[in-house]
Symmetry: C2
Subunit: 137 residues, 2 copies
Amino acid sequence: MYQRNTIQRTIILQAVKRLQNHPTADEVYAEVVKEHPSISRTTVYRNLQQLDEAGFISIRKIPGCADRYDHICANHYHVRCINCGRVADVDMEYIPDMQSRIKDGHGFVFIKHDLIFQGICLECQKQGSKEGKEESK
Amino acid sequence: MYQRNTIQRTIILQAVKRLQNHPTADEVYAEVVKEHPSISRTTVYRNLQQLDEAGFISIRKIPGCADRYDHICANHYHVRCINCGRVADVDMEYIPDMQSRIKDGHGFVFIKHDLIFQGICLECQKQGSKEGKEESK
DNA sequence: TTTCTATTGATATTATATTGCAATAAGAAT
DNA sequence: ATTCTTATTGCAATATAATATCAATAGAAA
């Protein structure tokens, strides 16, 4: 756990709270470097992880793309656009006891679960999926 | 789609079918290089992707670790050990209409979903989680 | 046998993330 | 206010996973 609230940590947290669209570490870096041009990418990566550990933000590991950082920490589900990579929340009831549906878990102790939808976002539908900024990996 | 069934493609497919534990591309490489010492890692990556596209195996993108290759193509759910990285199937009914539970999908067209559990496998429980071969990222 | 081209394998590159370490800066102690 | 202490930063290097480029090769077809 970290000890001090530095300028860097403060503006990184503010950036995640301002950018509400599940930014990647690099997108957070691009945002904070405007305000604090000397900040290092390493510091952004490091502080995002520390802010996650401290419970102020939540890291979201989405299959097939860079980690996203979420200003909302409560458990919820996400959808990823397979054309442009955009990640959004879905409004769906969280199922805390999902693991109770498992008949055979091969001796695993279950801790949590992630449910990630894949689809095409509204913008990419409009553009006929022609010029997405990212291909699905 | 590929045109020819090369030696390399054949032994890569056999390796995935033999290694039933959701191997990574590197683990498949380690297996096939025993039989075919001159094979290139690139060829393994490339063929695994082509075999996935051709429907003979299935790529599984698990958050926070390297892609796994599955000899079973039918939709099902997985659990990952956060200590050693092992990926296993869970025996649980597949829910094809999961997206029907979404109240607001923000205009996304939904295509598929992935449900991934995280937990501790039997082996890591026995070892008291002391010497896992991989830390959770 | 010769031609044609899919495929391979070596190398380089990209993307994402982490580690090591010297320099810095922010509190605490004096 | 000055010094001390150490958490933190930022640079550079490294790690890992995956992909791109391209000349050489192999194998089917003519």
